[in-house]
């Protein structure tokens, strides 16, 4: 996570932005500010409008409503070829009939840069993405990863104010994807250009971005740095979309004053959670509890301040680094997932199917959401 080169002046200001196709809103009154030098991610499930938003930033789609300001200038209706942003497409869109060098130099050539200068800058850009010397090759002689680097170099060579990346890693295999995450972050730090990445992969967004906007149904649900998004989600959707979560519906018994008490059907005792923004008494709330924050034990925990419930182990899923225990609470209803790290190589599973166990968590572990 880079904070280098980030300052608080905005490079992109989006306000009231909507894109409608007939009665359907692909993007629905979005307000968003992206800071200069930031690595920003638009995260959401497919069809949430993140790609449409990115394409509007690029100028490939024009908004139905609202404005986009790039570096202080209103760009809402400016066509793509006259915007100071460049894009790396999902299919990479490397021109198949041109050499790698001509691909990278294309953006400069259409701007009227003489061939020799354009080629020189293209070679520099290729060095930047570690493709030095690949200039004379044809795109059909490159691997998928190399073609992506060509697309990156081609966009960066124009020194855009913002680089837009549409699902940049989705077409790569798992190993390469992890490597490219790091490389993209390093590249962004070294060129100091604002990156806006669209992705549906939360792991990608969490590991690369300085800040993430989570989108659903054309709306931005929450914009925050990765850790805040994970630990302090503001909506059920965000809690559920980022990582794994136990969501338990209940009624707020007492709220406010940094303490929320939630009574959930199926959970025998009221759940005490410490959080700053209280909820009105009597309203519906959802307890969001991360599986790795729940402790599982045979005996009741000594610490009385912990929330404790009893249940029966129903299922165990082995995932390598952790095992997930699905525990059914006594009153039938809620099923709580608990993640236990497999610290020891020799499997010494302290609990097995059908065991009666105590589940406990501290008041600072969960969060009660109102929507």
């Amino acid at each position: 996570m880079s904070a280098i080169g980030t300052d608080d002046t905005p490079i992109i200001e989006i306000s009231g932005l909507s894109k409608r196709y007939g009665p359907i809103s692909a993007v629905d009154s979005v307000d968003l500010t992206i800071r200069r030098g930031e690595f920003f991610a638009l995260l959401g499930p497919s069809g949430c409008g993140k790609t449409t938003l990115l394409r509007m930033l690029a100028g490939l789609e024009l908004p139905t409503e609202g404005t986009i300001r790039i570096d202080g200038q209103d760009m809402s209706m400016v066509p793509a070829n006259r915007r100071p942003v460049n894009m790396v497409f999902q299919s990479y869109a490397v021109f198949p009939h041109m050499s790698v060098r001509d691909n990278v130099a294309y953006g400069l050539r259409v701007d009227g840069v003489p061939k020799s200068d354009a080629w020189e800058q293209a070679e520099e850009a290729l060095n930047l993405v570690k493709l030095g010397g690949y200039g004379p090759r044809r795109p059909d002689q490159l691997s998928g990863g190399q073609r992506q680097r060509v697309a990156l170099a081609r966009a960066l060579v124009k020194r855009p104010k913002v680089l837009l990346l549409d699902e940049p890693l989705s077409a790569l295999d798992a190993k390469l994807r992890e490597q490219m995450r790091l490389e993209l972050v390093n590249l962004q730090e070294s060129v100091g250009i604002t990156f806006v990445v669209v992705t549906h992969d939360q792991g990608e967004a969490l590991s690369m971005a300085d800040r993430i906007a989570v989108m659903d149904h054309g709306r931005v649900q929450q914009t925050a740095p990765p850790a805040e998004l994970y630990e302090f989600p503001q909506t059920k959707f965000v809690a559920d979309f980022i990582g794994s979560v136990n969501l338990i519906e209940g009624r707020v018994q007492a709220g406010g004053n940094g303490q929320v008490r939630l009574l959930a059907p199926g959970v025998p005792v009221p759940v005490e959670i410490e959080q700053e923004n209280g909820l009105p008494e009597g309203s519906t709330g959802w307890l969001a509890l991360r599986p790795e924050k729940v402790d599982i034990s045979n005996d009741p925990p000594a610490d009385a301040a912990r929330n404790t419930v009893m249940g029966t182990v129903e299922e165990i899923t082995y995932l390598g680094e952790v095992s997930i225990f699905h525990v059914r609470l006594d009153d039938e209803h809620p099923l709580i997932k608990v993640a236990i790290a497999n610290v020891d190589r020799v499997t010494r599973r302290p609990f097995t199917w059908g065991d009666r166990v105590h589940l406990s968590w501290t008041p600072t572990c969960g969060i009660v959401l109102s929507q």
């Binding site: 490939l60 497409f89 294309y106």
Partner: protein, 279 residues
């Protein structure tokens, strides 16, 4: 030791081989005969008298035949160029834009492919006489009526071929070019045309051979001063079938086959390339 015939070894079954042979005989016996008898040393082209190349010489010295051949080439060249431009524009129009009645337009555009040639011929004749198209222009403008007629039936072939190729076009390529600063025209010139090129070449070859050997429509639109090669051959046959006609026809067959083979080869090569690029 002969290996046993496998269940899918159709090519080794006697009846399949027999059928293939019959088909080939039906298809090619007349053409083979035509070519063979172009070397026949006889004025009357019925009995084999011996080998000679005389009639090729005679055909090549026949001024009116050469003139007809020149006319045919000129018309083919002109109508091909116009067909490529027109066909490509129609293909791009149908691919790129949505407008009311597009499906109808697409169907109507392909109509000349299916309309019987004789009807097209009569229609052209009626059309040109109705508008009073001048028939006494100096060469090569005297060929304009035939050229227009040829364009009208060959540009749909170009459009269909190019349209099919455009189906495989990745729109992100055009968007990428635009994103990099290219104007609409630059996108068309730098990205679209190179992508369409194999289709343009193949469609062009098709248009060229169609124009070169068209008889029916040309017959209705040609005048005494604008005789094309097929029309000339027809008029020669009306007097007598000499090996000279065979020789001239053989030359036309060779040209047509060579052009068609080139078109197919170019198309295949482009497809291979596209496949490799797609990885």
């Amino acid at each position: 030791m002969a290996t046993p015939v496998g269940p899918l070894d159709y090519a080794r079954r006697t009846w399949v081989r027999l059928m293939l042979m019959v088909v080939f005989v039906f298809l090619y016996a007349p053409i083979v005969t035509l070519i063979a008898f172009s070397f026949n040393d006889s004025r009357r082209n019925i009995v084999w008298q011996g080998f000679t190349l005389d009639y090729y010489g005679k055909a090549l010295r026949n001024d009116s035949l050469i003139e007809a051949f020149g006319n045919s080439l000129t018309i083919a060249l002109a109508s091909t160029i116009i067909s490529i431009i027109l066909g490509a524009l129609v293909a791009v129009l149908l691919w790129r834009f949505r407008f009311p009645g597009r499906a109808g337009y697409e169907g109507a555009m392909a109509l000349p492919i299916v309309i019987p040639e004789i009807c097209m011929g009569v229609a052209m004749l009626a059309f040109f006489s109705r508008v009073g198209w001048p028939s006494d222009l100096p060469w090569p403008f005297s060929l304009s009526a035939i050229t227009i007629a040829h364009v009208s039936f060959s540009f749909p072939f170009v459009a269909v071929v190019v349209r099919a190729r455009l189906e495989g076009f990745n729109r992100e390529l055009a968007e990428a070019a635009q994103d990099l600063g290219a104007t609409e025209w630059q996108v068309f010139r730098d990205i679209m045309i190179p992508f369409m090129r194999p289709g343009l070449v193949a469609g062009g070859m098709l248009a060229f051979t169609l124009s070169l050997d068209d008889f029916v429509i040309t017959f209705f639109t040609s005048g005494p001063n604008t005789v094309t090669f097929p029309v000339k051959v027809y008029s020669m046959v009306r007097f007598s079938v000499t090996p000279e006609v065979n020789a001239a026809s053989t030359i036309l067959i060779v040209i047509t086959v060579a052009l068609t083979a080139t078109a197919l080869w170019l198309q295949n090569r482009a497809n291979d390339k596209a496949e490799r690029a797609a990885g």
